[in-house]
């Protein structure tokens, strides 16, 4: 019934509109010189609005953005991003100026004559070659970074950790002393063996299953991702890291944490963002927020997609070793 009520309101609005437009002059159809003048000036006004909004967003929203990258690989990413962002920012300001300033400057008047100017190969060559060169340089740098991030050398000897996803939770498995993950498959899921680890594989015995990630600072970590049901995506924004978890295959991503959680909490950008958040939380009477690294699901995966997270703690290597030694191996847990 309520729907009918809303539809009735919409119809009533429509009818009143109809009545209003009856008294309006519907005969006003083609732009006159006066319209050209008004609309041209409005175009200039809109340019001012657009500039104001862009500048406001660039300045005021700085504080809400992600803090500097917390991984060594992410540093280059930030660098590349800054270069790209400056470039597109400048082009954006210039192009919008040209579009709306020309709309104002050349607003029509019956005393004016447009310039018949159909072609200029020289101009076209310029604005083909300049973007082409800029873009080649930009993606050259981008591809170098991409290769740095995506290819993990054998000699780097990374710590191997499996991140395992299901509707709607994350688990993790550390490879243990041998740094080799035991095989896993959904057919082995039974009871407390929730990750489907093949316990007949010798490599599985010293693996350790946990619900939170602890990472040592300064060591390269190679994540192996699995999913047991639908696509998920392991998104670790502070480390500039993301990879889909795909049922039926193992995907991977590697990075080297640069700051411990404690160090990051002292970072000036993090402090500024945390203060902003806590002001809002205090007004609502909620507990203060303390910065933590997070892993979020970033691929639509079902009803509770919005609440699929895992805490990540980065610590000094000694603390990491101590924490890891306290965790039980799968051989101890799954008899």
């Amino acid at each position: 019934m309520l729907a009918l009520f809303y539809i009735f309101i919409a119809v009533a609005l429509g009818v009143s509109f109809w009545q209003i437009t009856r008294v309006m002059n519907l005969r006003s159809v083609i732009a006159t010189d006066k319209d050209n003048d008004t609309q041209g000036k409005l175009a200039l006004g809109f340019l001012a609005f657009l500039y104001a909004m862009m500048i406001y967003c660039l300045i005021a929203m700085n504080v809400i953005m992600l803090p500097e990258a917390s991984s060594i690989e992410g540093e280059h990413d930030d660098n590349l991003f800054n270069i790209t962002f400056w470039l597109i920012g400048i082009v954006q300001f210039a192009m919008q100026f040209l579009i709306f300033y020309f709309s104002y400057k050349y607003r029509g008047n019956k005393n004016n004559k447009a310039l018949f100017y159909a072609d200029s190969h020289k101009l076209e060559l310029i604005w083909t070659v300049i973007p082409a060169v800029t873009i080649v340089l930009l993606i050259g740098y981008g591809l170098v970074q991409w290769n740095n991030i995506m290819y993990v050398g054998e000699d780097e000897n990374p710590i191997v950790i499996e991140v395992y996803s299901q509707q709607f939770r994350w688990d993790a498995r550390y490879a243990g002393e041998d740094n080799q993950l035991g095989l896993g498959n959904v057919n082995f899921i039974k009871g407390i063996n929730t990750m489907g680890v093949d316990m007949s594989d010798p490599n599985s015995q010293d693996d350790k299953q946990v619900t939170e990630l602890y990472l040592p600072k300064g060591k390269k970590i190679l994540f192996k991702f699995r999913s047991q049901d639908v696509l998920h995506s392991a998104y670790m924004p502070h480390f500039r890291a993301q990879m889909n978890c795909v049922p039926g295959m193992v995907t991977q991503f590697a990075f080297t944490p640069k700051y411990t959680t404690e160090e990051m909490r002292q970072n000036s950008e993090v402090i500024a963002k945390t203060n902003g958040i806590n002001k809002i939380r205090k007004a609502k009477g909620e507990d203060p927020y303390v910065f933590d690294y997070l892993l979020l699901c970033n691929k639509i995966c079902g009803a509770s997609h919005y609440n699929m997270q895992m805490k990540i703690t980065v610590v000094e290597e000694a603390d990491y070793k101590k924490w890891l030694s306290e965790q039980k191996t799968l051989a101890q847990v799954i008899k």
Binding site: H76, I88, A118
Partner: protein, 596 residues
């Protein structure tokens, strides 16, 4: 041609018509109806994003008791709304509603043909589109809700009803609807291609075609190349869902049991989907760019700058669009080497796009701009196309995409570059060719209000959205309140929702203007915008066959606006060549006049 002597009944004139002009209008009205649904859905889920735990009677009114509790929508319903919003806007409004409307209306009129090559196939194309719209709307009413796995319907989520309720009957109907839609699109596209190649009037060389026709032509070609791939992707998904095959599924444990699927891969679906999905962006955008080229040139009273470069860039964009699909999959787990290749091809698209943008701006330069609503929307398109296009340099670069993939940064990017831009192109086209469709004119004052409110609210929604994306906010989250790190984004989300509601309501101005003008608008003269192209040589009252006498012959390109004698020694130097600032394509060259 004696067709127009036939007595037409209501059914043959308005329903099962084979007249391309009427079919164009049918596409437009159906597309607008679907657009109202799509936009209304976006307003509902924007309410949820801005005020997650708040009860709204409008939510209670329009959603069923399975879909909301006390005016707060359920998470599944939220996902269903974003899914169907995306599907409807991309396919039903901006593909069929935009390309279907204007290709049908303009191709025969602008190339000088009596009708499409096959009027009957054209009719079938519309009615298949209508049928697919009916199926899609019907899917909103099934018990477990419509498809809700995102408009990209990635399996396994879309394949398993255990994973999300919308993947039951709702998903089946979605797939059936899309299969019918693709058939409609293919029949339409083939007809456009054949018509443009074969039915051009005498003198209408390919290099004299208006850019609208070039855009529709290339669009139809990429449609024919890429839509069948989506059809096969959908068929294989139907097999997986209904007949137990494993094209996309493998090693799945869900609801406490291991499923039998072995050996498939969701990544295969992603490849097949985006092989259409990316060209689809250009299927949407190119017609809008073609329409804009025509309108900017007409209203600037200037030839479009770099006509051949514009054709070249349309072709380059179309070609590149078919080899860039992998940029949607940088973090899908595909081989990183492929990522490098797709980064390279993707970023190359920036070059022809930049050429187009610069050419539009040069067309404005030293023009005599007639600020009709159609012109304003075209200028708006250039603006949003640039704003949205530039961030493509971030997303197309695989290394940068890692961190913004599937965040609101992407949502902002594609809404500006293809959503808002294509809608602006569609509005521009409607304002400009309304006289050709209905023989009456739309009101300009309402058009101005419509434009300024729409562009301000569009920027108000999608510009700040980039920044919440850079704050790391993932898209498709029912609520962000489980993450204190996003608490400082709430105010921005509220602002965006308010802007979205204003923008949505502003479309009522357009709808009122549209429908009132059909009945009450001022009667249109034959050539209201002083345009050069052939459609303005046809009578205002529609006749089947378009021209009462012989089809006119074409003697020049479409862009001889403000052409003057430019020989310094000529006594006529500086005067308009034909005494006015436009020259119809049907006007023969004068002695000593150079063709352009």
């Amino acid at each position: 041609m004696s067709d127009h002597h036939h007595k037409e009944t209501f059914v043959t004139k308005y329903i099962f018509t084979i007249d391309h002009k009427m079919i164009g209008k049918q596409f437009l009205i159906t597309g607008m109806f679907m657009g109202i649904i799509g936009v209304f859905m976006s307003m509902l889920f924007r309410l949820q994003i801005a005020w997650p735990e708040t009860s709204f009677s409008i939510v209670e009114a329009f959603l069923g008791s399975h879909q909301q509790t006390d005016g707060i929508m359920n998470p599944d319903t939220y996902l269903a709304l974003v899914t169907i919003h995306g599907t409807i806007m991309v396919f039903f409004v901006l593909t069929a509603g935009l390309s279907g409307t204007f290709s049908n209306l303009l191709i025969p009129l602008q190339i000088g043909a009596r009708d499409m090559a096959s009027g009957f196939m054209n009719m079938i194309s519309y009615w298949l589109f209508f049928l697919s719209s009916v199926v899609m709307v019907a899917s909103l009413f099934v018990e477990a809700g419509p498809a809700s796995a995102g408009w990209t319907i990635y399996p396994p989520l879309s394949a398993l009803p255990q994973a999300i309720p919308g993947s039951g009957t709702g998903m089946t109907l979605w797939l059936v609807s899309m299969a019918i839609f693709i058939a409609s699109s293919l029949i339409g596209s083939l007809n456009y291609i054949v018509t443009i190649l074969n039915l051009r009037t005498k003198g209408m060389k390919m290099t004299r075609l208006p850019l609208t026709i070039w855009a529709f032509f290339i669009t139809a070609i990429i449609g024919v190349i890429s839509f069948p791939v989506l059809l096969s992707a959908a068929l294989l998904l139907i097999f997986d869902r209904s007949f137990g095959t494993s094209f996309y599924l493998s090693d799945i444990f869900i609801s406490g049991e291991v499923l039998h699927y072995q050996g498939g891969s969701p990544v295969l679906f992603e490849h097949l989907f985006w092989f259409l999905g990316h060209p689809e962006v250009y299927i949407i955008l190119l017609p809008a760019l073609g329409i804009t080229s025509e309108i900017i040139s007409t209203n600037a009273r200037k030839p479009i700058f770099g006509y051949r470069a514009m054709i070249g860039s349309i072709m380059a964009i179309a070609f590149l669009s078919t080899i860039v699909w992998g940029h949607h999959m940088f973090v899908s787990g595909m081989n990183p080497f492929l990522g490098s290749v797709f980064t390279f091809t993707t970023v190359l698209i920036a070059i022809p796009s930049a050429v187009k943008a610069f050419n539009y701006i040069t067309t404005l330069w030293k023009g005599n701009l007639q600020m009709n609503p159609a012109m304003l929307f075209s200028i708006g398109l250039v603006s949003t196309f640039v704003t949205g296009g530039l961030t493509g340099l971030v997303l197309g670069d695989s290394a940068l995409d890692i961190n913004v993939h599937d965040t609101y940064f992407v949502v902002a990017h594609f809404h500006l570059v293809m959503g808002v831009s294509a809608l602006f192109g569609m509005f521009a086209g409607i304002y400009h060719w309304f006289p050709k469709m209905y023989g009456r004119m739309m009101n300009k004052t309402l058009g101005y209000w419509h434009f300024w409110i729409t562009i301000i609210s569009a920027y108000g929604v999608f510009f700040p959205m980039h920044f919440i994306g850079l704050a790391g906010l993932p898209r498709r989250y029912y609520t962000n309140s489980n993450f204190p790190m996003f608490d400082d984004l709430v105010e921005i989300n509220v602002f965006m929702t308010i802007m979205a509601i204003i923008g949505g309501l502003a479309q009522l101005i357009f709808l009122a203007n549209f429908f009132i003008s059909i009945y009450r608008g001022q009667k249109s003269p034959m050539n209201p915008w002083n345009s050069n192209t052939l459609e303005w040589t046809t009578p205002v009252e529609h006749i089947h066959g378009n021209w009462p006498g012989a089809i006119p012959e074409v003697h020049r390109w479409a862009y001889d606006y403000s052409k003057v004698w430019d020989d310094e020694n000529d006594p006529r130097h500086g005067e308009y060549v034909h005494g006015k600032d436009f020259v119809l394509q049907t006007t023969p060259l004068l002695d000593g006049e150079e063709s352009s």
